[in-house]
Amino acid sequence: MENSNRPLSPHLQVYRPQWTMILSILHRITGVALGLGTLLLAWWLVAAATGPDTFATAQSIVGSIPGRFVLLGFTFSLFYHLANGIRHLLWDVGVGFELKAAQKSGWFALSLAVALTVASWYVGYAMRGPV
């Protein structure tokens, strides 16, 4: 069924890297990352369902420095995928297709994701008290 001799369309590397294409691949990367992150979510929920001791161990792993980095990545991935996902939904209804609008909404989605990540962690740390 495959015709390996067929002419090919230009590959990605012939294009000058652009802002919007970086955001586009970041949507996929964060989506896959969130999927992998659900493994940790499952592990965390199972630990809670197992009992107080197991949950305490899980919480201390999550609260460790490497655990916090993973959690930071998860937080940013979720907020970015959320903000950029809304951008995709707007495109689906035909809003914001013009180049300038797409570049602007891209900046907005990324800024919003960074802002929400920082705000979440600020509130989280404030609630937890001094470490």
Binding site: G31, A42, A49, P52, Q59, H88, M127
Partner: protein
């Protein structure tokens, strides 16, 4: 060698009539996940450093338990549909592609079931 593509050969055979289903489901789950994921993140932040008793109490509240189950189901469905597209785009070997799609389906259902069970066990 023919330059006729598989698409050209398929034309005239009619559409399979289900091409847009997954596209639509991806959007439906995406819209549902806007409030659900915001709720989930707000909850996680409010549970920072929670001990087992507080966490169990939180899960056991009916609204939280139902919202958690909805979030688990919706996000795993959304992930599965999205991951399929990623696999179909990047994995060109037919055998590995089908194996990857199967693996994603099974893994997603398994992890989703584990999450749902843990929530039910905590909540009931």
């Amino acid at each position: 060698m023919t330059l006729r593509s598989p698409l050209a050969r398929a034309r005239g055979m009619g559409s399979a009539r289900k091409g847009a289903d997954l596209w639509w489901l991806q959007r439906v789950t995406a819209v549902a996940l806007i409030p659900l994921s915001i709720w989930l993140m707000a909850s996680f932040i409010s549970l920072t450093g929670a001990d087992h008793a507080r966490f169990t109490e939180w899960v056991a509240s009916p609204i939280n338990a139902v919202a958690l189950l909805l979030t688990i189901f919706t996000s795993f469905y959304h992930f599965k549909v999205g991951m399929d597209v990623v696999i179909e785009d990047y994995v060109h070997s037919e055998g590995i592609k089908i194996a990857s799609l199967l693996f994603t389906t099974f893994a997603t259902v398994l992890v989703g079931a584990v999450c749902a069970f843990a929530v039910l066990k905590l909540a009931l």
